[in-house]
């Protein structure tokens, strides 16, 4: 079981305790069945976990992978050569989430779920998992790849995907938002709050904070 120490530091440290931390993928040796969901560069931690896992683990593992252009046939070959029982490549994360939803609806206790990839992707996997009664603590997660964020505007509630800057204008209400580290698992999004309420003449310059 993950011991709470982050395996990779692809995410900068944050002072906010509500900023999620991803403990890193680690094989659960007692799991009867493993379901692994990965997007883009999330395949690296998956390969690392499988190659270090006890014998028989890969043979009880089903990987769902939403590859990107950068993912090579080599990664898929490697997954197979490690003895992974089943590997499904899906064209998009949406397809992957749908497939995962289907698998979870017939899965039993003893099945363990793992998610690796961008924060937005992990958030979506957790939402599906929680919808099936899985405790979020039971899901092993590791961040890999882009740090772009899903952001909810606290004023109009609109969600904006793939935000890589620290300040942006909400397309829903036009308010200039500062992207906080405060994160809601339920919404799978970070909070955006008006950046210049006390002095609207101020227009703080956005930084490329979450590439």
């Amino acid at each position: 079981m993950a011991d709470g120490v982050p395996v990779s530091s692809t995410l900068p440290p944050s002072t906010i305790k509500s900023r999620p931390r991803y403990q890193g993928l680690q094989a659960v040796p007692t799991a009867r069945h493993n379901l692994v969901a990965a997007d883009g560069e999330g395949v690296r931690p998956v390969l690392r976990m499988l190659s270090g896992a006890p014998p028989g683990f890969a043979g009880r593992t089903h990987v769902l992978y939403a590859g990107s252009e950068t993912s090579a046939a080599e990664d898929l070959d490697r997954l197979h050569s490690l003895g992974t029982a089943q590997v499904d490549v899906l064209p998009t994360s949406d397809d992957l989430i749908r497939a995962l939803d289907g698998l979870l609806s017939t899965a039993s206790m003893g099945t363990r779920l793992y998610a690796a990839g961008t924060e937005g992707f992990i958030g979506r996997v957790l939402t599906i998992a929680i919808g099936h009664g899985i405790d979020h603590k039971s899901v092993l997660t590791e961040h890999s790849g882009s740090r772009a964020r899903r952001v909810q505007c606290v004023h109009c509630k609109r969600i904006t995907e793939d935000v890589t800057v620290s300040i942006f204008e909400c397309a829903g209400c036009g308010v200039l938002l500062f992207v906080r580290d405060h994160y809601s698992r339920r919404l799978a999004a970070f909070q955006g709050v008006c950046a210049n309420a006390e002095d609207p003449s101020q227009r703080p310059v956005p930084e490329e904070a979450y590439p």
Binding site: T15, I16, K17, S18, R19, D135, K137, Q152, V154, H155, K157, V175, R180, D181, H182, S184, R185, R186, L187, Q191, V193, C194, A197, E198, D199, P200
Partner: protein
Amino acid sequence: MALDFHTETFRDDFTFYNSPEAIRRFPFPFDRDEYMYSVNIETHTPGPVGSVLEHPIDVDEHYVSEMRDRALVLAEDPLRCQSLPHMDLAGWDLLELLMTNMASDYPDHFSLEQGPGNRWHWVNRPLGIDDTFVFGDTSTLPPRPGGAEGGEPMGPMEYVTRQSQGDFCLLDQRDDNLWMDAGITTTQADWSLDFDIGMNFFEWHGPVPLAHEMGVFDRALKYLLNLQQSRAARRLNWTMTINPRLDTSPENYHKWGIERSTVTPENVGEKVHLRVELQVFFRLPRSNAIVFPIRCYLISLNDLVTVPGWGQRLHRVLSTLPPELAEYKGLSGYLDVTRAWLAKYDEAAART
């Protein structure tokens, strides 16, 4: 003894005012000249007669107007009141807690008859409410006020908290943690229920600076996990608000934030308010949840300095406040001008 309810506003023209009695009983939170976090939880035992701690649930002269402001907030933004599905039983526990206490301690204004077959009859004279319902059966509760005739019944938490001062958070206890799984927030100091609902104790306190490192939340959580039905607990929290605005929500921050820049040396006394939250923690019997009422008290600095010693103490607290706390509490924009105004009430400052 009957209360004299005001007609006043907490927005727009801000006609809110405190009577001399309200000023006298205001829960001034500072017992020394500096402020730093502590767990500062104590048992919620009855305080002196006439104080805000006299009764487990405090109802005051602002009751009717606060409920009116609440109704306006909810009409504009229904997401301020949410309850995750498993929290219905906790909502009934809360309804029982509030109605029994209000009827018992303010019989001039509220009455409750608990009849056979769980048929309850509740009368709320100040708000003109006279309802019967079956305790535990949500289908027997009235629909949302202002909604369509014959609309869906409200849940028990919404129904009772539309008639109770202060915000309320219902916390489910599981996995050695507390989860904010239901609540109503129309008088909060700047956090969003819609965003925070579903978070655990450490997560919803995430943005609070310094306290985590001090272990304050670890100790507080341990205390609350062992909270028992027979012993409620309480603590005070404080911040400041410009104008007696109740709804200082992040949702509307882009509208009210500007008020923080409108403080001048001439208007400090009238505009700057000390805002104190009385937070209480009750263990609820049937759901094993904890309810956390957050009762808000406002006082203008003009009124505050009429109480001997308060002006001086507040001046000293503000003068020694760590910058991270001032920032987090949103005071930075007007801290200096407020301190300068308060200096004349501080013997030591006045002498220099």
